[in-house]
């Protein structure tokens, strides 16, 4: 299984090149190649999980074999563990659905081969970031995904799109510089770039606390901006709604999680160490940022009438849930946070896609000009309603279970105040999405929409599929999903049993050098 790890990056990268090469001669090849690549990634990710479920360890590490003299030097290390695997599956799943949705949706845009090339580049960057075993490769893959996303936000080439992309690029560049300086500081104080090796040195207490603190602050700032935490969120409500609907779904559903949440979890838990001397202050910072994002995002979202902008503010707020769960610094907290991140990818992906469908049906994104869509567009309405119930946290949808787990984790960690903030946010989210449903799906159909038609099946089925997965995700939690997410959490956070998570990650990487 280890040998297929580099394919997770190479397949989408190759697909991007094919899309560009075939741009002039065979523009129709781009969607086919992209879909085939996404489905191949999905099959590979599922295969990894099936192997993981059959008892064998899901984990593996791969590296270019450079032979420097006699010693084996691991080159570009790619490491697959439970945490990476769950994100790989998520990226493959959502991107496949998004590509199917885009087949018809993108009809109204020019330069579709370029769209597919950038989309594949985005997928390659995200997969690479999730698999990267050293800090600099993590940075490079983050940049690949980011640059593709800047260009995709501007893809509509309207005034609004380009301005949003410019602002996103400006702040993204500052974030990247901050991450790179953080990498430099860790390299200066350890002489290493491999995350597992740096983690071992930090755990042994061989790194000065000042350097660690500086690096942690720079990573928190840089990755926090990529994850749109509240003081660094200004770009998101412009950038995410400006992109074409499939890209909004990719950005909100996947990008802020793979570049933001995954990288934060990996760096804070494995490299810097939440049990180390900085653990307490990092925990406080995560909790404060999480609470501010949760409450701020949902309050700003309440007043929005633009459907996509409202969804973007809720992305900030839902990322806040994930952050406070990570800040609980327990195995249950990390598991609940990851479960919520997975759920958010499913329901926010569905909601952004359905916002695209609704815009196609009604010609507007303004919620106050919609109404009664359940009558004219039943398929889209059912999918939207399912996803909205899920983000609102209505049982038995998955959003309910992950929010409940987060509350339990916060109470167990002795943080009732944070739990109360999370509960308030959950109620406000429910209020907000009840309003959305009432305004868009039910109520009176405006006269001008009386002849409106539902979108083609290739656009309504993806939304329905994601909504169905939201429902299944909730029902599956006790039936196996808890093991998958639990493994992912146990990969970074020591659970109740005597498993030292960062140490097992280090062992995984160190076994590389001892391969025959």
């Amino acid at each position: 299984m280890v040998d297929i790890i580099p394919l997770f990056v190479l397949i989408p990268l190759g697909a991007a090149f094919v899309c560009l090469l075939a741009k002039k001669k065979l523009p129709a090849a781009a969607p086919t190649v992209s879909l085939a690549s996404a489905l191949a990634l999905l099959a590979m990710a599922v295969a990894c999980h099936v192997e993981g479920a059959s008892g064998a360890s899901i984990a593996g590490a791969w590296s270019l074999e450079l032979h420097g003299g006699v010693a084996f030097i691991p080159g570009i290390a790619l490491v697959l563990d439970g945490l990476s695997a769950i994100f790989l599956l998520l990226v493959a799943l959502v991107s496949s659905v998004v590509i199917v949705f885009g087949l018809r949706y993108m009809d109204s845009y020019d330069g579709r081969p370029l769209y597919y090339a950038l989309l594949n580049l985005l997928i390659a960057g995200m997969n690479g970031a999730v698999l990267a075993g050293d800090l600099f490769n993590l940075y490079v893959f983050i940049e690949i995904a980011s640059i593709a996303s800047y260009a995709l936000v501007a893809f509509g080439t309207g005034g609004h799109e380009i301005e949003a992309a410019f602002k996103y690029l400006m702040l993204g560049a500052v974030a990247s510089a901050s991450i790179l300086i953080g990498v430099g500081i860790l390299y200066a104080s350890t002489g290493l770039l491999n995350m597992a090796d740096i983690g071992a040195m930090v755990a042994a207490g061989n790194v000065s606390e000042g350097a660690l603190l500086a690096a942690a602050a720079l990573f928190l700032g840089g990755l926090g901006l990529k994850a749109a935490m509240m003081p660094f969120h200004a770009w998101l409500p412009d950038a995410h709604p400006s992109a074409p609907a499939p890209i909004s779904a990719m950005l909100s559903g996947l990008l802020i999680k793979t570049l933001g949440i995954y990288a934060l979890v990996r760096i804070l838990y494995v490299v810097i160490g939440m049990d180390g001397p900085l653990g307490g202050s990092l925990q406080t910072i995560l909790l404060v940022l999480g609470c501010v994002s949760m409450l701020g995002g949902v309050l700003l979202g309440l007043g929005q009438t633009d459907f996509k902008r409202l969804l973007a503010y809720h992305s900030i707020s839902q990322m806040g849930f994930v952050l406070v769960a990570l800040g609980a610094n327990t195995w249950l907290g990390v598991a609940a946070g990851l479960f919520h991140a997975v759920n958010h990818a499913l329901f926010k992906g569905a909601l952004f896609l359905s916002a695209g469908s609704i815009e196609r049906i009604t010609g507007t994104r303004d919620l106050s000009k919609m109404g009664g869509l359940a009558k004219v567009a039943p398929m889209t309405a059912v999918g939207t309603a399912g996803a909205a119930l899920s983000i609102a946290g209505v049982p038995p949808f998955n959003g309910f279970w992950s929010k409940l787990l987060i509350l339990i984790a916060l109470f167990q960690a002795g943080l009732p105040v944070v739990a109360a903030a999370a509960a308030i946010t959950a109620v406000l989210t429910l209020v907000c999405f009840t309003k959305v449903q009432r305004k868009a799906l039910f109520g009176k159909l405006p006269d001008r929409l009386a002849t409106a038609k539902d979108v083609p099946l290739s656009m309504s089925m993806p939304v329905l599929l994601l909504a169905l997965l939201c429902l299944l995700g909730g029902l599956m939690w006790p039936l196996g999903l808890d093991d998958v997410i639990g493994d992912a959490a146990a990969a970074v956070r020591t659970d109740a049993e005597t498993n030292d998570a960062p140490a097992s990650y280090r062992k995984l990487v160190h076994d590389l050098g001892r391969k025959p």
Binding site: G159, F166, S176, A177
Partner: protein
């Protein structure tokens, strides 16, 4: 130490240009300065006073070579980072051009479509 201070000053100048200045070209220049500041910082991590280039010639004593040569790894990082920076700068210039074509102005205050 002087050079680290220079990198810090450059970083400050670049961030000022990028985030405070309202002229889009000044923002682009700010981005370039930020990138160079970071590169300057990285390249110094491997520098040793009077060090030689990290290319080992035949017959050179390994221990002496390792003692004298500068650390090649930061140089590799900076090369990669320059390429990434080039991509970012090109994209930013392309967006600036589009904005100019659309509004006939490079003043960020005249771009009214965004609220935040």
């Amino acid at each position: 130490m002087m050079m680290y201070a220079l990198a810090a000053v450059l970083l400050g100048v670049g961030l000022y240009g990028l985030l405070v200045k309202r002229h889009l070209l000044k923002k682009v220049l700010g981005l370039l300065i930020v990138e160079h500041a970071v590169n300057l910082f990285l390249i110094q991590l491997g520098y040793i006073d009077g060090g030689i280039a990290p290319i080992r010639t035949a017959g050179e004593e390994a221990a002496a070579f390792v003692g004298n040569a500068v650390d090649p790894l930061p140089q590799v990082l900076v090369l990669t980072s320059i390429v990434i920076g080039l991509g970012l700068a090109m994209l930013m210039v392309a967006l600036t051009l589009r904005i100019y074509q659309r509004y006939g102005s490079l003043d960020a205050d005249r771009m009214s479509e965004l609220k935040g």
